[in-house]
Symmetry: C2
């Protein structure tokens, strides 16, 4: 993600800002964890949260620390950032080393979802977006659980994505150097499901878990 | 990462704060991308940056946007968060769904590294921590590149990690339900290296790239 000063940049730039929602939403729909930034008494705080997109908003779920509660109650703005790392870009100089990635940064105000019905819908959406098919397999939420559930709703208004793809962006003068250069792809993989040792009944792993994949295209 | 109210928690809690530096550094040494939070005119901003640990500090590298520059010049505090996602925790209820993860949150003040010698050392450390063995293969940095390089130094003083491991943490009353429950492991994988189409000379992928792995233990 290094910024390259214009005077040094001779070849193509592969790092682009993306503004169209369809492309941004594809990035959001592939990720699982976001980083939420807020300000607590002047101190910036960044915490990881699970998220899922529902139309033009994100549902955020996680340990809502008391200081984040305070920020939300005050209607203060937060920042939500999602980063997907796609590759290590190995150039011919240290300076031109980089990474291929897709990241989304969104600014706005988040609200706690209130009321059992809205909470139930949000929790079910979260579970089924994070693990499609899961909702149908598990038991229903209880009122006590819904009361204890804290999910935030974050409208996607101010939003931008940045994407870098492709081979290294070396300087022309370096292109003849006999140095291996290229990209080492990075992906998130899902392994063999590990059953809870306390499992009872049929231990067959459901298909939607065995074949689990993330993809912004689906 | 859901916070579970005490009155609902019956079984073991597997989410723990970690304070010893050795464990925290192992997490840091496995990650590649951190999320840096800062405050710009009251607005929290979170951006992804590459990082590497050098002893008790982090070297941060990335597009240092003008507003972050301003924050750093003012000596304002930032927050650096690293999250490694290890698994999707599939419980018998939506409420107890969670993720296995390791995250580090650090607070402090970052400084720009100044002077060609210090910058050269920082850039070389970054490259060789991100891709061990790479430094020896590439050409030397030029003075012009070092002048244009912006690397931050962030002392690891105020730091804490949080870790969740293990199977779902369902309620006792749910343990007899005939629902598949367990963990779907998540890992970061490195694929087949993709050579730069403009490669000249020997196209053999160096061993340190072909066998690239991340591990906080190494």
């Amino acid at each position: 993600m290094p910024k390259v000063p214009d005077q040094l940049r001779i070849r193509r730039i592969k790092e682009n800002a993306v503004y169209d929602r369809e492309s941004i939403y594809r990035i959001l729909d592939e990720g699982l964890v976001c980083h939420v930034g807020f300000v607590d008494d002047g101190q910036p705080v960044v915490i990881p949260m699970l998220y899922a997109r529902r139309d033009d908003l994100l549902l955020l779920h996680g340990a809502v620390a008391s200081r984040l509660q305070k920020v939300l109650a005050a209607g203060a703005r937060i920042c939500v950032t999602i980063t997907l790392l796609d590759g290590l870009v190995l150039a011919r100089s240290a300076f031109n080393h980089s990474v291929n990635y897709r990241s989304v940064v969104a600014f706005g105000v988040a609200n706690k979802i209130k009321g059992p019905q809205a909470k139930r819908a949000a929790l079910d959406t979260l579970v089924d977006k994070l693990v499609p098919g899961r909702r149908a397999d598990i038991r229903d939420n209880t009122r006590q659980e819904l009361a204890a559930t804290s999910i935030l709703e974050f409208p996607l208004d101010e939003i931008v994505a940045k994407v870098r793809t492709g081979p290294p962006d070396d300087f022309d003068k370096d292109m003849k150097l006999p140095i291996w250069a290229g990209v080492l792809p990075v992906t998130q993989q899902f392994g063999e499901p590990v059953p809870d040792p306390a499992l009872v009944g049929d231990s067959t792993v459901p298909d939607y878990i065995r074949k689990y994949r993330r993809s912004g295209g689906n």
